[in-house]
């Protein structure tokens, strides 16, 4: 299988789009037609989650559906993870500590998971990990360096999400990941790469049990693809007890997990496609957590006696791609005008009920390097917008269309509000509703003049974010934005470890991007955890999922 080293690979998409596809497509589940589960579990060690969808596939090389995130998060461990710290606003919540720590190796504050310790080469071209000893997988095999090597060779060979990560850290040859002894493994790059260590805690860099997977490999399927679709082979705190797609998944805490058996020993992950139903179930006490609720439902839940609802700043961004290759968005002034007309505050108030904040930059505000100094579209300025359009030669306005996702309930009202605002500056917006399953195709085909997109870059690094969306060769650059200087800066930042220099470069990138407005900068919705009051321990991750191993019951 050939591997193209340009940025044409489709990246691991933490898109709610694909998740919505799963949600819309999976609106099929009967109430509780599970296969003989005796649910009278002990409340102290059982947790029930009402989710929009069960995992489609358990293979993190390919699947970014919503249910798969939680599955991978509990079935697998990575080499390292970010250290945690309590959230500033919500004391019951923890976060990953993603601040830059220039004194620490790799500049990141990490805690060891499958790796006990690590050393970064001073010139930044290699990292050596020392693996923890005596760690068993859910199949009873012991963790060795070979597992890490095999995992990364799989990524190189299959070239999907993992392939993208290989590209990001400039890993191109299998020999670059080397086992140096039974419990030591090293990554050796040709050039210094700032993300070599920072990418390891990523949700989609789990380590597989290569012993088991080599057992189930066949000639046609040497990397265990069909096995990993429905089973797990890893070193995480949970194992898969059962999976009935469209109904539920059941995870069981492992007694032989090296970190000790998780407090919530049984996790029932139930598919409840309608958010209103999920809210109902939580309110009635039938579930412990209701995922992905609509703003009005969240507000309504605040009054429920046994429920805690907390919203914190997150890495989600909702924006509208303005296709730079289609008229009239090839003109920078027109794009800026579209931003001046966008009624951000109104939308935050009405559609999101203040559970979001305006998007004031082109990367999440949590991340180091975020700079909102270049934000100029704060006030909705219709006069200026009209001027800009006239100046760009479009006279009294023009007609165009905005495509939105039928599976995401906030997009339609946002589109309608925007349509009304645009009418006042002479722009006639036709709304185009696209079913959830085909929505992403429309985005990636880049044939629409304006289309919504929801995403969050998982790696808390400005270079990573900018590269994803604004490098002209990036597959995710759906707006067809091209700026040679921006490309130069992004490429430069990928090749050096000098964090200070990188931050400067990414700052300049933000300046260009914010001025040239390839997006209509929309909304940054918060992440809401709606849970039973006595379920504690939730931690916010930049990948916007939860890990069951964090939770415990308050006594």
């Amino acid at each position: 299988m050939s591997k193209d080293s340009s940025h044409t690979f489709k990246v691991s998409r933490r898109t709610i789009l694909k998740g919505s596809a799963a949600v819309a497509g999976a609106a099929l589940a009967p109430g509780a037609l599970s296969l003989g589960q005796a649910q009278a579990q002990d409340r102290a060690n059982t947790m029930v989650v009402a989710a929009p969808a069960t995992p489609q596939s358990l293979d993190s090389e390919y699947d970014v559906s919503l249910g798969t995130f939680e599955a991978v998060a509990c079935l697998y461990d990575g080499l390292v993870a970010f250290e945690k710290k309590p959230d500033a606003g919500v004391p019951t919540a923890s976060r990953e500590d993603i601040t830059d720590y220039p004194d620490k190796p790799g500049g990141v504050n990490l805690v060891g998971k499958l790796a006990e310790s690590w050393e970064v080469d001073p010139n930044g071209t290699s990292v050596k990990f020392h693996m923890r000893k005596g760690v068993k997988s859910n199949w009873g095999n012991e963790l060795t360096a070979e597992d890490v090597v095999w995992t990364w060779h799989r990524k190189l060979a299959l070239g999907a999400i993992g392939g993208f990560y290989c590209n990001t850290i400039d890993l191109t040859r299998p020999e670059q990941v080397k086992a140096e002894g039974s419990h030591t493994v090293s990554f050796n790059l040709d050039n210094p790469n700032p993300l070599l260590l920072k990418l390891q805690p990523n949700l989609y860099n789990p380590i597989y049990d290569s012993t088991k997977l080599k057992e189930v490999a066949t000639d046609e399927d040497p990397w265990g693809r069909s096995f990993l679709e429905n089973n797990s082979a890893g070193f995480g705190p949970y194992e898969l007890a059962s999976l009935v797609r469209g109904q539920q998944a059941v995870y069981k805490g492992r007694a032989d997990y090296y970190g000790g058996k998780p407090a919530m020993e049984n996790v029932i992950f139930k598919e409840v496609p309608t958010s209103a139903n999920r809210a109902q179930l939580l309110q009635g006490g039938a579930v412990d957590i209701a995922q992905y609720l609509q703003p009005l439902e969240i507000i309504a839940l605040r009054n429920a006696p046994n429920v805690a609802v907390e919203t914190i700043q997150a890495t989600f961004m909702i924006w509208i791609e303005l296709n730079a290759k289609m008229e009239p968005f090839d003109s920078i002034d027109v794009r800026r005008a579209m931003n001046f007309a966008f009624p951000q505050e109104q939308i935050v108030k009405t559609v999101f009920q203040d559970l979001a904040s305006p998007l004031t930059a082109c990367m999440p505000d949590l991340y180091p390097g975020y700079n909102d100094d270049y934000w100029e579209y704060g006030k909705q300025d219709l006069d200026l917008a009209r001027e800009l359009i006239k100046g760009a030669g479009h006279g009294d306005g023009f007609t165009t269309s905005l495509s939105y996702n039928a599976g995401d309930p906030v997009q339609e009202p946002m589109a309608i509000l925007y349509q009304s605002a645009l009418r006042e500056i002479g722009v006639n917006l036709e709304l185009n509703k696209i079913p959830a399953a085909t929505f992403y195709n429309n985005v990636s085909e880049r044939k629409q003049p304006m289309i919504f997109y929801v995403d969050s870059p998982w790696c808390p690094d400005p270079g990573y974010s900018m590269n994803l969306y604004f490098h002209s060769k990036s597959f995710i650059n759906y707006s067809n934005y091209e700026n040679a200087r921006v490309d130069e800066l992004i490429d430069g930042a990928a090749k050096t470890n000098d964090q200070a220099a990188r931050l400067e470069m990414m700052d300049e990138v933000q300046k260009h991007v914010m001025r040239e407005a390839p997006w209509v900068f929309g909304i940054s919705p918060g992440y809401t955890m709606a849970r039973s009051k006595d379920l504690m321990g939730w931690t916010y991750y930049t990948s916007n999922n939860m890990r069951f191993q964090d939770f415990y019951r308050a006594s």
Binding site: A27, P30, A32, Q37, A38, E61, A160, G246, N277, A437
Partner: protein, 337 residues
């Protein structure tokens, strides 16, 4: 032997009719935009993986060729393909979902009969009373109400305000253990299993959707009964019976018996319609029925569920019409003779 000849004549048509239905649906559904390979593997798959999957699924063949393969699978192996959304074989999915829909429709139509027939008879007989007026209005109104709207209103009223029924979340309560599947109809299966909890939970969840369907289908049933009874009571033999002084009950009974064919017709029509037509109610109640399955398939370009559903419902419809015609034979001596 006339029956045999009649059935035989119909059977000859069933094969080609089914083939025709599948043919039309296949070509129709193939026109829906959307690339299944991309949707199954997700956006991160490489071109070569996509090509592999397309070759696997036979998508790179011409449409007529794909059709032949589909027919071959269907006839020789009983294989309806796989749904990319649920990743399960369509036959499995339908075996779960069809009984859900059928249970709902059957109970709904029974309720419709219980409402429609007595009212229709009463209205036809007591031509000018309040009952007749009420039946008129009801008949027309029932045909005018959107079923999904009625479902919403009933939910709002009986659940949100009064709290008399369980939340509209499907067929069973969240934590109830379902009975082993024998017929697929929860009421029957839980009875057979002696599982009273499941029985009461299933019954509770059935109340509102059955009420919705019953109220709405009661309308056409009532109208048909009323108009047929009207005609029967106006007819010569009825008048003759009246003149002869036969008691009302007997006159009505005779007229009713002669109206049966029409009632049976309308019920069969409704049944066939509701198999796919109950989808809106299924969606409102998260019922997990077959119609919902097919609609999600169409919306998301998941072809096999749609084809499987069309096939199943066509087979069911044809069987229903055959049964109905046999019933005609049984009750209508004119057809027999």
């Amino acid at each position: 032997m006339r029956i045999m000849r009649y059935i035989g004549k119909r059977m000859i048509f069933i094969g080609p009719q089914l083939l025709g239905i599948i043919l039309v649906s296949f070509f129709l559904v193939k026109l829906i935009p959307g690339d299944p390979a991309v949707m199954m593997l997700g956006p991160m798959a490489s071109e070569s993986t996509l090509e592999e999957l397309r070759a696997d699924m036979g998508l790179n063949l011409s449409v007529p060729q794909q059709f032949l393969i589909y027919i071959e699978n269907l006839v020789l192996h009983g294989d309806l393909g796989r749904s990319w959304q649920t990743t399960r074989p369509v036959t499995e999915d339908l075996f779960l979902r069809m009984p859900a829909t059928l249970e709902l429709i059957t109970l709904g139509l029974i309720l419709g009969l219980l409402i429609g027939v007595p009212l229709g008879v009463g209205a036809a007989y007591l031509k000018r009373g309040i009952l007749a007026k009420f039946s008129d209005y009801y008949g027309l109104l029932a045909g005018a109400l959107p079923d999904f709207w009625l479902a919403l209103v009933l939910i709002f009223f009986f659940y949100t305000i009064l709290g008399w029924v369980p939340p509209p979340l499907g067929r069973l309560d969240f934590f109830t253990i379902p009975p082993p599947t024998i017929t697929g109809a929860l009421l029957i299966d839980s009875l057979l299993d002696g599982n009273w909890q499941a029985l009461s939970s299933a019954a509770g969840h059935l109340i509102l959707p059955v009420l919705t369907l019953g109220l709405i289908s009661g309308g056409p049933i009532l109208k048909m009964t009323q108009s047929t009874m009207d005609r029967m009571l106006e007819s010569d033999y009825s008048r003759y019976e009246e003149m002869c002084g036969l008691p009302k009950a007997i006159i009505i009974r005779h007229a009713l018996r002669n109206s049966l064919p029409s009632v049976v017709t309308i019920v069969s029509v409704l049944y066939g319609f509701l198999i796919g037509g109950a989808v809106l109610v299924e969606i409102v109640f998260s019922w997990g029925g077959a119609g919902q399955y097919a609609v999600q398939g169409v919306l998301n370009a998941d072809i096999n569920p749609v084809l499987g559903f069309v096939f199943f419902s066509a087979v069911l419809s044809l069987i229903i019409y055959l049964i109905v015609d046999l019933i005609y034979f049984a009750i209508d001596p004119r057809v027999r003779g």
